[in-house]
Amino acid sequence: MSFWLDQALAQAELSNDCLAEHRAKSLEALRATPWPTRKTEAWRYTPLLSLDNSVIDEPNDNIDYPGSPEGVELIELFFVNGKLQSNINVAVEGLTIASLDNLNDEQQAVAKTVCQSAKPSRHLFGMVNDVLAKQGVLISVADGSDIKPIIRLVHLQNGGQSHVRHLIKLGQGAKVSVIEEYRGEQSFVATSFSEFDLGDDAVLNHYRFGLQTGAAKALAGCHFNLANRSQMHSTLVSFGSVLSRLDVDINHAGEHALATQNAIYLLADKELFDLHSNVEHMQPHGTTEENVRGIIGDSAKAVFNGRIHIHRYAQKTLAELNNRNLLLTPKAEINTKPELEIYADDVKCAHGATVAELDNKALYYLRSRGVSEQDARIMLNFGFINELIEQMPAEPLCEWLQGELRTRFGDLRTQLSVEG
């Protein structure tokens, strides 16, 4: 085990809430799990040393709140250093939002079924989060309810340790949009896991903006269960930091489900970002489309592991995964590994990973109109990412996010003028 984990577990009070059984199970499993080394496949490129070695900043309440996207109705909840800031006060028909530490009996029953339903037990920090997360929300959308406002869960942190868990249940035919947003650049540890359980015919629009950077140590997961004919459209945007890891699981537990996932990572300095994505097609007629694009500058390092597992009975599956990377400097690094496991014979599957350079013809075209080479490179890099941003279902969010990312591109500006 690690010093960090020992300490974290020692400080955990094993309260007797509705998820106590889940916690106990994970604690046991965690004790039996060896701490990853460089030989542990799932952690091969992502050393965890910084957890044990770095000094954690003292958290304080003096924190800047980010602006909100305009032109869209929002239900906003803020978590500062892992604690929910205000009372939840939502009056939207068909929608329940409750703090995990304050659930009524009915809500407790829902929480118990969603917790650990979509997240497989193998994720190390998922188990840590199982044991330690006391904060977070339960979101439950009643059968057939179409929730208009977008739920925005904003997490701000400037120190300490935080463990947050969100459990989201969509009833049959329910529709909802959820943004998870994470920010902070100080030295802190955050485990943030969320599970989404979609009923038959449910539709989820999901956004995860993992904008933690700098000295943040961010360990996270997003896990989805798809029932018959349900749909999820997910956009992940991630910056890198000293340690940044995201595990995604999409489980086609019903037939005719559709999952689209667009993931973007933008890394600078010595940052690291590691995305492990796993799609399980367990039932026939499922469709998955994943587009993963990254821009990596300085001596940053990205890790992408994209696995698609098509089980024996999952006939007529359509699955596509595409990973494209732009490296801005010779020291920038990408470790990309596609893993396809297909046990059904009647499926269509495509899987590809490339390390691309900027399109020279496009560069010439822009310059031939008077745009400087540096600006043209920035435009093209931004365009590479923007193509995925523009596919987000909520247009006002696109503009807001484009603004956020432009700042990031500003940071990368000098490198973008260097020959890719």
């Binding site: 008077g370 365009g383 923007n386």
Partner: protein, 266 residues
């Protein structure tokens, strides 16, 4: 018209991928003139445009190019554009993710900066862009789309003309801006060009068809063949070519023993 030259091309030689394409091309363009360049496929017409624009990989191996009194052969692509050179492409590229509007504003502002002007306000720019798109009959929604993304062949050509309207270059080179256009679009392109004729601005119009020249009246028509201008005349030459085709070029080459020997040895 003044006797000043806007563009002087003398003995221009250029190669691409170690292959000589332009082999001593001469062309003089005075302010306000319209020159048409015709010639068989593969003659080097597009190459001429690329070489003038400074495209990477198109290497000048001899001759000179002077635009508005300045040698442009050592300038970067963007400097040439800001100096007033504009090439409407035969095959404009699609750039998904980069919005037309953002691109056009960056281009216009870069031109303004070169002229010592402030960037346009978003509002003023939008107004200009809308007017330009109207002129070439492209719905304003096209401004929001990715650069040429999913545009039809004709829409791409009109987008090129729209850029020309916005950038107000001194020398416009149109590389087959008429190909793939329906009859109405052809008129739109021609009107775009004609509306910009002011006695100072010059045009080099590369085309295979006399039809465009009915709308845009050229002062000179040149035949480019095998990397050189081999024949020049007035507008009537285009009609002649339409009637005769280019078979006479082969005869002309046969009559030139030096040329013949070179072809055999190649």
């Amino acid at each position: 018209m003044t006797s000043k030259q806007l563009l002087t091309v003398k003995g221009l030689q250029a190669k691409v991928d170690e292959k000589d394409i332009l082999k001593g091309l001469d062309l003089d363009v005075k302010p306000g003139e319209v020159h048409a360049i015709m010639g068989p496929n593969g003659a080097g017409k597009s190459t001429f445009g690329y070489v003038l624009s400074g495209r990477d990989g198109y290497e000048i191996t001899g001759g000179e190019v002077v635009l508005d009194g300045k040698d442009i052969t050592e300038m970067d692509i963007e400097e040439r554009a800001r100096a007033g050179l504009f090439l409407a492409f035969q095959y404009p590229v699609e750039i998904p993710g980069v919005s037309n509007l953002e691109f056009l504003k960056a281009a216009v502002d870069a031109h303004r900066e070169a002229q010592g002007l402030e960037p346009l306000s978003s509002k003023d720019f939008l107004k200009e862009a809308r007017e330009a798109s109207k002129k070439v009959n492209l719905p304003a929604e096209f401004l929001k789309r990715g650069v040429n993304e999913g545009f039809s062949g004709g829409e791409k050509k009109r987008n090129e003309i729209m850029q020309m309207l916005l950038l107000k270059p001194k020398l416009c080179i149109l590389d087959e801006s008429d190909s793939g256009l329906d009859i109405d679009a052809l008129q739109v392109v021609a009107e775009g060009v004609n509306s910009m004729r002011d006695g100072e601005r010059s045009f080099i119009v590369v085309t295979h068809y006399q039809r465009l020249l009915d709308y845009i009246k050229p002062d000179y028509v040149h035949v480019l063949s095998d990397g050189k201008i081999v024949k020049s005349g007035d507008a009537s030459l285009a009609l002649e070519l339409e009637a005769q085709g280019y078979s006479w070029l082969a005869e002309m080459r046969e009559a030139d023993p030096e040329e013949m020997h070179r072809e055999v040895s190649e």
